[in-house]
Subunit: 322 residues, 2 copies
Amino acid sequence: MKFFLSLLLLVSSAAWAQVLPSWNESEAKARIVAFVQAVSDKKSKDYVRPAERIAVFDNDGTLWAEQPLYFQFVFMLDQVKAAAPKHPEWKDDPVFQALAKQNHEALAKLGQRPVLELLGQANSGMTVGEYDGTIRGWLAKARHPKFKRPYTDLVYKPMQELLAYLRANGFKTFIVSGGSVEFMRPWAEKAYGIPPEQIVGSQQEVKFEMQDGKPVLRRGPNFVFVDDGPGKPVGIYRQIGRRPIAAFGNSDGDLQMLQVTADGPGQRLALIVHHDDAEREFAYDRASHIGKLDKAWDEAKARNWVVVSMKSDWKRIFSFDK
Amino acid sequence: MKFFLSLLLLVSSAAWAQVLPSWNESEAKARIVAFVQAVSDKKSKDYVRPAERIAVFDNDGTLWAEQPLYFQFVFMLDQVKAAAPKHPEWKDDPVFQALAKQNHEALAKLGQRPVLELLGQANSGMTVGEYDGTIRGWLAKARHPKFKRPYTDLVYKPMQELLAYLRANGFKTFIVSGGSVEFMRPWAEKAYGIPPEQIVGSQQEVKFEMQDGKPVLRRGPNFVFVDDGPGKPVGIYRQIGRRPIAAFGNSDGDLQMLQVTADGPGQRLALIVHHDDAEREFAYDRASHIGKLDKAWDEAKARNWVVVSMKSDWKRIFSFDK
């Protein structure tokens, strides 16, 4: 038995060179690996028991792409168009106008909340099963305008490796996203290894009712929780119930989640993905309407958080990159 | 390797006789074991992959005792008394009157919601850390009026065994309780092996704010979600995101959770704990104000759900029973 354990340790040591293969040997990678070793080594002063090794990941712009428009907003367009004949009152609604005209700038200025609220109206009345079917159908057919691929192909390979690496070291990984839980549940398990019960997101009202003697859950028109900005630590508190020791984001919407994570005792990892690769993906930060990185960037510099350059820290961005 | 696997299988077979040792060899136990075998045997037509083996447990009256008054309500008494001087408007409030006079019948008639709302006001303004400290302090000192023991001693040994047995067979176990998440998180991991992120419960509003340059979460006065009755399937949908295949309850507040679980395809386990042991615990059902079992009992009979008699199916109820 002892022999096998020693062998296992040797294999692990040899495997260090292999961890995070899509990451260049940069400071960012070194700091990630050093953090993981510090909290998972029982002899370390910063050791954290596995149950407390909670890692939270923003989704849009952190685990998959978000340009030229949050993918859930693209989905909404079809939903809202389909529902428009039933809602004559939308004709003069600025959110509907911005969506119908695909006016990204206007949409971005409006912010996530009013757009989510219009989506809420568009898909209310469905059972949760019907809504799930609608999302799966859209994801199967829709293609990204730049990459001409299914949206679910646009997950970041280096982040998939990071998720797996953390789990291999006893972490429990969660998504904490401004998007709706329903939009992530159908594919997050396959893409990220994250099951539905580890997804924290925005929530629309849902009601129990009996329909022809069968229990169903039906969607109402209102959002009951928007998991963005200061909402993210609240979502984490409600659903996870403990403070994460590692948080990963890319925009000002992740600032408070990163602050709460970094503020705990012991070693903490707060990391921001910086979109600076216009060729392989997109380049945007302070001036962007989608995924604006401004205050969180200043905070990252002031507090020495890890900032990942997609251009220089990642060997490849997507699985389909060479 | 193969030899070790075979040995393991032999051990497992021999261990069947040992499962659920605090349960008598009754129909209830046989049906539980048959269900678990059917969904976890790869050759079974009812096989369910581990990721979908979700089991949900009510807490009060199902995993621990709830008489003569929900333990969280007892905790509230102290909270509300301490806060009363700051709330002169409570003097004429029927909920406050019922709490202050420990009028269990009046409290039970009022139902869980208004009582939770008063608690909400009593503990609003605290940070979540301060509130957690208050609960832990109370749990350490408080003693049950009948058993003269800490409330956390009053967990049911047969249910602890059932939780462990399900997990040993690949299930993920969740609490789905009408009580507040904060009241269960401090002790559920030790008592039940259920971590905070697998507890679904009632939720009071919480807000992010910066206090002296540090991020804190502060409690507001209102409940934003009551996880009881028709709220339970909603809580499950929001936080777990898939339909459970096994559900365990004891009262009408669990009816809709049991209905949704039982209504799915394949084999399902819906189980009700019946409190019929006045000597070792308490005996109550249709006429009780706390943990009323009336409609759910009729439904259990009509649909052939498993009904556990605490008196005849359980060898012992608490760990401290002989």
